[in-house]
Symmetry: C2
Subunit: 177 residues, 2 copies
């Protein structure tokens, strides 16, 4: 059963990931640190949470997260395929290695990309509140389009909450109970 509030949900996600030996990393654009904060604010998060990348500048989505440059150019940064590649890419970016060998591969990636507002996206004209979230958990991949109301702050907060719920659902999809 899904817990009643976000903080409890994050604590339960940390327990579930830890019990399965999975680490977690986040890739953020419009939420700019708030998704990382949702995990780090929970004591003991370091058992699971390894790190995050705030790729606010579109070019960083390619250079730090490995999102395909042609996709970014053709579709703009607020796109389901971009979100998918961000979630997958941060699992690689935040994996740790010694020399050439990856010693700890991150098991879960969560991503957000969208228009926080107040203005529409300069490149595509997508309105404020248009947000894609994505999760990559083991072999499970999920993306979801959100159309959020409110000001910049409420759009960013709602995007984080939705990403956490999507992550929770992916645990079920991956066969864990």
């Amino acid at each position: 059963m899904k817990p009643a509030n976000d903080r409890e949900l994050v604590a339960r996600i940390i327990e579930r990931a830890a019990s399965r030996g999975l680490t977690l990393a986040v890739a953020e654009s419009l939420t700019g640190g708030l998704l990382a904060d949702a995990f780090v604010s929970v004591p003991g998060a370091s058992r699971v949470f390894t790190g995050g990348i705030v790729a606010y500048d579109t070019a960083l989505k390619h250079s730090l997260l490995g999102v395909d440059a042609a996709v970014l150019r053709e579709r703009g940064p607020v796109d389901g395929e971009v979100a998918r590649q961000m979630a997958l890419g941060v699992r690689t970016a935040c994996s740790t290695s010694h020399g050439e060998a990856v010693t700890e591969r991150v098991g879960i990636g969560v991503a957000t990309t969208g228009v926080a507002g107040p203005d529409p996206d300069a490149q595509t004209g997508q309105p404020a509140g248009t947000v894609w979230i994505a999760v990559s958990l083991g072999a499970v991949e999920r993306q979801q389009l959100l159309a959020l109301d409110g000001d910049r702050s409420s759009i960013r907060t709602a995007a984080v909450a939705a990403a956490i719920v999507l992550l929770w659902e992916c645990f079920d999809a991956d066969g864990d109970s």
Copy 2:
């Protein structure tokens, strides 16, 4: 004159950086996204803020930010030299390039590393509230040690506020008024 509150101070920092053509990136450990959020929450932050790296796992401070592995091993992650290298390293990590050529070099790096608690640092025994913050702005480098009181949430919030003030002071040190 330093503005009265944090949000106003960040808005003024964005103005100052923009007027000098400087971009900004952040490297965070214990503040885990809150420092990035302090910038992204201000509309128009994209004029200056390029991105951030939450290197929560110590190994990521080396792999993503280029902090010297021997320094991390010998001193642990909560250290002035580690903070200095994080602030400098994120300027490189968040610079954008086309092929081999760096096309936009980030002008300002801000970093936090510390013990959020409730427990002391497992490796060094440093108590909760021990925090190093650092700024790298042009050729100016500043590091500051904080000893903060309170719970995990207040320690992390106070670390962000102190980093923003240190950044503000570095503008003056760099000769801007």
